[in-house]
Every structure is written in structure tokens, then in C-alpha cells.
Symmetry: C2
Subunit: 374 residues, 2 copies
């Protein structure tokens, strides 16, 4: 049901009671603090996902995998500011929180996210990377799934508390360095010294504001050098860990063979042959910043389709809707970075887990309160 | 159908044709080489199992576990010579081939086993350990399952070729030494020096005639010191390997989680708690004396029933007839040595695999030739 009307900010607190149903508004949380409410009821609750990572760590690839799971590609708002980082698909809107000032003390981020979560559209600032100033804001309507991504969407406890699920992409220093060399030295002609200097220069901020967020994440994707090739520092073959917090609402960790025990698995053998250096999985319980977690690790890479489907068929709790859905998703985006290793596999799986979580929340929202109490 | 009559040795070759069904005789292969035939047709083919190991390595415990799988305890022949090593149960007869001279060149062992395999009773010599001479022989009727055990039942290729399945118990020197200290020093008051000397004295014969048999075995149970306790040499906690030859007729190796891949599994975790030093399983393909094998390894020991049933429930291809049969068998004989570790577990499983193999052979023998060709 869509009911649209106009209210002043004063009427906000009384809407629920005097209308008898959830009436939603647009609140404009722009930097100039002009606040007014506009309109419109929406039917579903917005599920809010946080994704934090340093720059150049694969957030946009992850977002493309995530929105693909829900069907339909995510695109920038039509006719919008070309500097917008926002991506919109049928179900999902991805906004970049870096457009808000990182040390925002006025709670604009929190209020904006809170409004969207409650089904209220907001106007979001757009940071212009060329001028260094804020462009006119863009209107963000409440989607089914709102992903807030950026360098520190989980840094502020008030924003963090609004997240239904949070993810941190943790690229180890060795791999970050190897990737930067590949991109900045081989492709852009930077010197090794300047790459080292730029990493060093960013380190204090990274250590203070980005890295600490991983302790709050419900899932961390940690990318490390392979252990299958002794002394490897190329950063081409990767060892990737999916660290999943236990006890997260509507999220049950993926497991390998036997939930809660400790396992290593080299699938390459009599039934499946793999090329050098092979593939090795590990799984088991662990603790991470004092939380109970389950960790699934993949070292190595897929060379062929049969390897991918074989691995998928032995993982449990991956929230697929049909046999081979992970493989299908990864093949669909075979050109995305990491499609042949644990980063692609785990991003895809987390996408499926988020779909699951969204569907549980949506079904609960559709159920009368009486029934959910049982 | 039982048809009994007497034949001279000369009539042996023609019995099958002139009677129209399988007519079986008793051939007396005694050391004095007096040969005559006596009687009786039996319906089933005898399945012949070989079990080789050094003395003091647990052959008799294994035999008790094996016969228990078929139901009913194995006992010495009633009214027989107390020096007899023979054990008889409803289905199984265990004879000790050590009663034949180890360097028997006349083929008496082979002929005796061949006769039993063909359903013909034999007279078996009994070596008197006190006099060092041979006592009057005992009559062995062809059982459903004949187990020939001893120091070298697989040494002679002619005997080996008669085996439907063969097992070698391979106790590593470290564990053998620890066991001998426990038994001969702690219980019998021997000195450490005399134990070392006795092991050394037996070594040339062991290396020449006993140890080489393991290359021919379809299954080897190898007993090693634990790796869970660094530097352990007590020999109480054991690491036990079950090495299973691939391609053995009517025998499909046990596996853990995923057949043909390489796996380690520590079942102790969130669902199962274990006391120190825990339990660790390994599984995977390997080669053993040039043969393809699958190896299942258990390090550690069971403290409680739930550990045993949990482990059993995660093993595949164990040839049980109902859920928990391995656990039931092990609990039934909880007082046998090795009931809390891999020796008991793997002996029990091999017992079940032999029952399976026997049933397949028996069902094939009962099926008309036309049908088995399909």
C-alpha cells in the first residue's frame, strides 16, 4: 500500500498512532541541515548491510557479486551526478559512506541510515573528488537491501548498531603490496619506492580508523599469501579465510563436512585432479577478537569448472536455492577479479547468506506478532 | 545336502564328474604323509583369510573380534589337545599355521589350505611347545570362514594365492618395545637389557620372514607412537593406520567424508568434547609397496561412548548392518586390549569388511553362473 502526503518535522512522532499504519517520510539529512519531510509509505523493512575495507580491496567487485545474487545488475542512479558512488538495482542500493566526513560528529550518517532503515528516503551528500567540495545531494529511496560501504561504515557505534549484517574485507599487507605493485607499478608506471611510501603514509589512518572495524564484523574475508608454494610472494595464488561470527542473528556459518570440528581437506586426489599447486581447504572453530567464530579457508585456485562444482557440493549451509548456484554465480562473473579463488567463492557465498538473511527478516516482518512469539 | 562316503586317493580327480555335484573329502595332510580320503559334501565355499603378525602383536585379540562379528565366541575344539591353537565358532575356524614348519618345502600348508578351501576336511599337525615335537594331528572340517594366522601365512606364494583376503598387523619397533617393557619388565620382572637383547635376537628372522609379508596384505594395521603428545614414548596413546589396498576383490576401502581426497579431522570441538590429548583422524590416497592404497589413521583414544559413536557415524563404507554396530562391537569387548583406540576400531571394522566379503562370495556361489555374467 502506498499512501503519500506531506508533513512537517513536528508531525513525525505522532504519525504511527494517528494513521494506524507505518507511514514513512523523506528526511533530508544534508550538510546544510535543512530538514523537512516529504512523503510515502513503503511496505518492506529495509535490511542494512555494512561493508568495510581499505581502498583497492575489492569492495566494488563484492558489491557486484552481491547485487547479482538478487538478480539484475546494479547501476548508478539515472541522470545523476557522475561523481555519485551510489549503485542501485531492483532490490539493493549501495551507498558509499565515505561521502560523509569520516569524523562526522553530528550523527548525520547515523540519522541517514536510520531513516532509510525505517523506510524513509534521504538526501545524501556527494563528495566531489575533483573540487574537494560537496556537490548537491542525491535522493536515496529506501530499498529492500541497503548496503553501506566505505572505509569506515562500522567505525561509529551508532551506525554499527543499525546494521543487520556487517562484512570486513581484510587484505594482508603482503597481498596489498603485491596487488599495488601489479597495478601501480606494472600498469601505471609508479616506482617501487613511491608505492612503499604511499602504503606507509596511509598506515597510521588505516591502523586507527579502518583496521579496528574488523572486530565488529559478522564476517571477515581475510586474504593472505598462499602456503602451497613455499616462499611465494607474487600474490597470484591466494589463501583466503572466511571468518564467521557465531551467534549472529539469522546467519548460520558455512561448514565443511562436520559442523564444529576441525578439518583440512585436499579435494584433489582420485576423484578430482587439480593442477599445481592444488587446492586446500581448512575449517574449524576459533576465536577472533574474543568472539566465537567458525573459519573456512581456501588456499589455491580453481582451474576448471569441475573443481568448482566439486568443492561447492561438499560445503554445507551455503544458502543456495538449487544445486550448483555458487558455481553458476561465479561462472556468470568469471571476468571479475578473484573468480578463480577464495575471494570470489566467499564473496559469492556471503551474497547468498545475505539473501537468506534478508528473506528471513522479510518473512518475519510479514508475520503477525502473535505468530512470531511462538 | 550332505552325502558321505569313502574314497581312496585315486578316486579324487573323478568325483566331480561321476557324482554330478561337489563331493568333498577329508585329506589327511599329516607330517607322516599318510594320505587317505574320508567323507562328506558341504554346501558352502570356504572363504580363506590370512592374518600375519609377529608374536605378541595382538593376533588373538583380532581373532576374537573377528569371530564376534559373526556371532558366538570362538573356542578350542572340544576334547582336543590343550596345545591346539585352533579356535572354532559357528562360522569361523582359526588355525595357526605356525604349527607347520616355517620353511616347509613340501607344500603341506598349501595342500591343507587348498583342501579346506575346496570344502575338504584335513588333519592338521599340532606342534607341542613343551616337547618341541608334533602331537597327533587334529581334524579340521571346512568352515564357512577359515582364518589362517601365524607368523608367516603370507610368506609362501602358493598359500598366499589361496587367500580371499589378507591382513598384516604391523607394530612399530617403538610400540613393540614399549609393550614388551610393560609386559616383560613390569609384569614378569625381566630386565631392560634382556628385553632389548631378545628383540635384537629376533630381528634377523623378523626382517627376513615376517615383515616382508606386509607388501602382500590387502589390509595392514600399523601401530605407531602418538603424535598428539610431543616426545611421547610410553606407548599408551597410539596412532594407528589402516592401510587398505585398492582393487581388492569384494573389498571397498573405508573412507572419511570424501572418498579419494586427503583429509584431516579433529572431531573434538563444538559438538564433541574430548579429554587431552584429543583424537585426530587422517584419511587419503597413498601408495604402499607400489600398490595404490587408501589410508585411514586414528591418533588418540576414546574416553567415552559419545566419542566412539560420533566417530563411527562419520566413517563411510564400514559395512555395518545397522547404525552403531562398530560401537556395539567395541563396547561388547571393552575389556579387550585396544578397545579405546585405533587398533580396536580398525580390527572391528576389518571384521565387518570380512563379513561383507564373505556374504558377497557366498551369494555369488549361490547364484547360477548365467546370472553372475550379466
Amino acid at each position: 500500500m502506498a499512501v503519500c502526503s506531506a508533513y512537517t518535522i513536528q508531525s513525525l512522532n505522532s504519525t504511527k498512532t494517528h494513521l494506524g499504519f507505518r507511514q514513512k517520510q523523506v528526511i533530508l539529512y544534508t550538510p546544510i541541515k535543512k530538514q523537512s519531510t516529504i512523503t510515502c509509505s513503503v511496505s518492506d523493512k529495509t535490511v542494512v548491510i555494512g561493508l568495510a575495507a581499505d581502498s583497492g580491496c575489492g569492495k566494488s567487485t563484492f558489491m557486484r557479486r552481491l547485487t547479482s545474487v538478487f538478480g539484475g545488475a546494479a547501476e548508478p542512479p539515472r541522470g545523476g551526478n557522475p561523481d555519485s558512488n551510489t549503485l542501485i538495482s531492483d532490490t539493493t542500493t549501495v551507498i558509499c559512506l565515505d561521502d560523509y566526513h569520516s569524523l562526522d560528529r553530528t550523527g548525520r550518517k547515523e540519522k541517514g541510515v536510520k531513516a532509510l532503515k525505517e523506510g524513509v528516503a534521504v538526501e545524501k551528500p556527494i563528495y566531489n573528488h575533483v573540487t574537494g567540495l560537496l556537490d548537491p545531494p542525491e535522493l536515496i529511496k529506501p530499498p529492500k537491501i541497503l548496503v553501506i560501504e566505505g572505509l569506515h561504515p562500522m567505525y561509529d557505534a551508532r551506525v554499527r548498531d543499525l546494521l543487520d549484517f556487517s562484512i570486513y574485507l581484510d587484505i594482508s599487507n603482503e597481498v596489498k603490496f603485491a596487488w599495488k605493485i601489479q597495478r601501480d607499478m606494472a600498469e601505471r608506471g609508479h616506482s617501487l619506492e613511491s608505492i612503499k611510501a604511499s602504503i606507509e603514509a596511509r598506515k597510521p589512518d588505516f591502523d586507527a580508523y579502518i583496521d579496528p572495524q574488523k572486530q565488529y564484523a559478522d564476517a571477515v574475508i581475510e586474504v593472505l599469501p598462499t602456503q602451497l608454494i613455499p616462499g611465494d610472494n607474487e600474490g597470484k595464488v591466494l589463501r583466503v579465510k572466511l571468518i564467521m561470527k557465531e551467534g549472529t542473528k539469522y546467519f548460520s556459518p558455512v561448514y565443511l563436512f562436520d559442523e564444529g570440528s576441525t578439518i583440512t581437506w585436499i579435494p584433489c586426489g582420485r576423484k578430482l585432479t587439480c593442477s599445481y599447486p592444488g587446492i586446500k581447504f581448512s575449517y574449524g572453530p576459533d576465536t577472533y577478537y574474543g568472539h566465537e567464530v567458525s573459519v573456512l579457508e581456501m588456499d589455491g585456485q580453481f582451474d576448471r569448472l569441475d573443481e568448482l562444482i566439486y568443492v561447492e557440493s561438499h560445503l554445507s549451509n551455503i544458502s543456495t536455492k538449487f544445486y550448483g548456484e555458487v558455481t553458476q554465480q561465479m561462472l556468470k562473473h568469471a571476468d571479475f577479479p578473484g573468480s578463480n579463488n577464495g575471494t570470489g567463492l566467499f564473496q559469492t557465498i556471503i551474497g547468498l547468506k545475505i539473501r537468506d538473511l534478508y528473506e528471513i527478516i522479510a518473512s518475519k516482518a510479514a508475520t503477525p506478532l502473535q505468530a512470531t512469539k511462538a
